[in-house]
Symmetry: C2
Subunit: 372 residues, 2 copies
């Protein structure tokens, strides 16, 4: 049952429960009325608008505090929802968002993933087993060179081939030319193999261009799009996902958002930022750095992301985690142990290294993850 | 002299200079080609597209590394510039952006502040001394109540009165109704006092609404607008500032961006995030939490912000810092010592507390900062 208040669990650093209570009260004021408690007008503002502390409980070396906020505070505006969630409090150390229970108003705004894991499986024609994703790069290659990589990755049977997140509209491979050529490349490979590879276009762009790129990708026959919400603004992703006319899966990329999760005791938990938030935005698959690669995410943090992507969550579709960032064949067994089958494995550089037989490298990956 | 490469100074945590070099090389690859160095194609990609390490030098408990990137990597796309600046590397601990030297391409994209400190002084008719800014709140008041606060703050001679950053388009004070009423309120007060108070409208909003709100504020007679770039996306601010048809000062609010600066050794330096970056965006005044208030910024961090706002910077106008967040009369002497005259003092709750004589409280503040 959803209510007219959304509930945020904050992790608050405090020495005592009394201090945690005091910090929670500060937060409930800071995020709403932004005036000292003693001058908050009595009545509706004090009773409904100010955040309400629902519970304070001790957790390992900190306190978990549930604070609820009225849907009236954001009124159908997702940017303002984020402001109420963590606007000024993002500037205070020792405050971290652990999780969120959506309200009616938030769910009216956030329809959630159109595809999610189940839809992506249908889109790719892969009923079970992990999905396989690769990326074309490096930046600086021509459209023809990128399309050739796309073709060979598709020949190898990757389910999804995506633009590297640094490919936008540079002169060496302009957006429209590149998407057209790469879609043609997967179609050619699919005709030859009987396969069903989809091309995913990076549409991360200034806001006035992004929607046109989304529409171009859709009309050009792309099988999905990728956006980095921390670069474009989060509402851009939500509004695209919420548009019934836009009927492609959306992959989210973590570029530029790192500070939101990597600082101890600040920002957002991995489960919230890469799980709950993405599902609220309507993202269908979430890319993030895998443990043990060239990024510092731990196995525990990655397991938390998996849980955030998969758990029942206000009726929003489950989405697959897409661990990437230095994935190699050697690491596949360890990753299989953590991720199992409901995952999109993202392998880029490690495949491209085997450029003399890219299709063979793809097939070896498929075998390693139990797909062939 | 500007060049076709922009230069970023990263602070890199490393035990030895060799380790710092290795991390810098990883970064130069990560931010551009995103493949291992040994498979980067020779020629233009290796020579120009990959980030170039210009210098590595020891700094206190870390290393400062200058890396330059070609304008070709972002091609007139500010979101992609941010991606090259810190996309994937934002996810790695022990990397922080200290400062940036803009390139020709970046300066073509970023015209810088239209007003800045000098323009804001002209706009407000205040040739010297600090400028004074207050905010109307709390969220939940009606338009009439907010307009009444605006009127009394203007009667007291505040140079600028702004929406609290939580006021967007809620039903209790819808945007158009509120801006119209608050502009009328400052005009009424100005007629009575002969003063020149300006109203600043919060236009932070989902991207498809923001521009319409900016235009409405301009046409309604507002004297400025406020945007929280971390909520809207950074390019939204840049593109508004770069539009010659939009001729109002832009104030930037730090909401939701805290994780970018408060984590040790990660994100951005205070001088870059609240100084250089804001000037690149074209922001005319930057709001941030003052030292010694309810936020944790130190005096040293605030002095760094002042330097970032004021130093000669690629010909971009200097902008005033707007320290806020719990400013009280008691703290004025300490703030005067740090900020001097080229500042916008933001006092909100502390003035509103004196609601029985708001104009008198404003005049006391003006006297305390040497304006009356």
């Amino acid at each position: 049952m959803s209510t007219d208040r959304f509930v945020v669990t904050y992790r608050i650093d405090a020495a005592t429960e009394a201090e945690a209570h005091a910090r929670a009260l500060d937060l409930a004021l800071e995020q709403t009325v932004e005036i000292p408690g003693d001058i908050v007008p009595a009545g509706h503002i004090a009773d409904e608008i100010v955040g309400r502390i629902d519970s304070v409980r001790a957790a390992e070396s900190a306190f978990l505090v549930d604070v609820s906020f009225s849907d009236e505070t954001f009124n159908d505006d997702f940017a303002q929802f984020l402001n109420v969630l963590f606007g000024n409090s993002s500037l205070k150390a020792g405050l971290r968002i652990e999780s969120l229970i959506p309200s009616k108003g938030l769910l009216a705004l956030c329809g959630g993933p159109k595809f999610g894991l189940a839809g992506l499986r249908r889109q790719c024609g892969v009923a079970k087993g992990p999905l396989l994703l690769s990326a074309i790069k490096p930046m600086g290659l021509t459209t023809a060179e990128l399309a050739d990589l796309t073709y060979r990755l598709a020949l190898g049977g990757m389910d999804l081939v995506k633009d590297d997140h640094g490919l936008t509209n540079q002169r060496y491979a302009p957006f429209k030319e590149r998407i057209t050529a790469c879609v043609a490349a997967v179609e050619k490979a699919n005709r030859e193999t009987g396969g069903n590879t989809k091309f995913v276009a990076n549409i991360t762009a200034p806001q006035d261009l992004l929607r046109a790129r989304a529409d171009f990708a859709l009309q050009a026959g792309a099988g999905g799009v990728m956006i980095a919400p921390a670069l474009t603004g989060y509402d851009v992703v939500r509004s695209l996902a919420a548009d019934p006319a836009f009927n492609l899966p959306i992959l989210s990329h973590p570029s530029f958002g790192g500070a939101n999760v990597i600082g101890a005791g600040m920002g957002f938990s991995h489960a919230f930022y890469f799980g709950e938030l993405q599902r609220l935005l309507g993202v269908d698959a979430v890319i993030y750095p895998n443990f043990g690669g060239r990024f510092g995410f731990t196995e525990g943090e990655c397991r938390a992301i998996v849980a955030g992507c998969a758990k029942p969550y206000a009726g929003l579709a489950a989405i697959p985690p897409c661990p990437g960032g230095g994935m190699t064949m050697e690491r596949v067994p360890a990753m299989r142990g953590v991720y199992g089958d409901d995952v999109v494995y993202l392998m880029g550089g490690s495949l491209l290294r085997q450029k003399e037989d890219l299709p063979g490298a793809c097939r070896a990956l498929a075998r390693a993850v139990g797909r062939a």
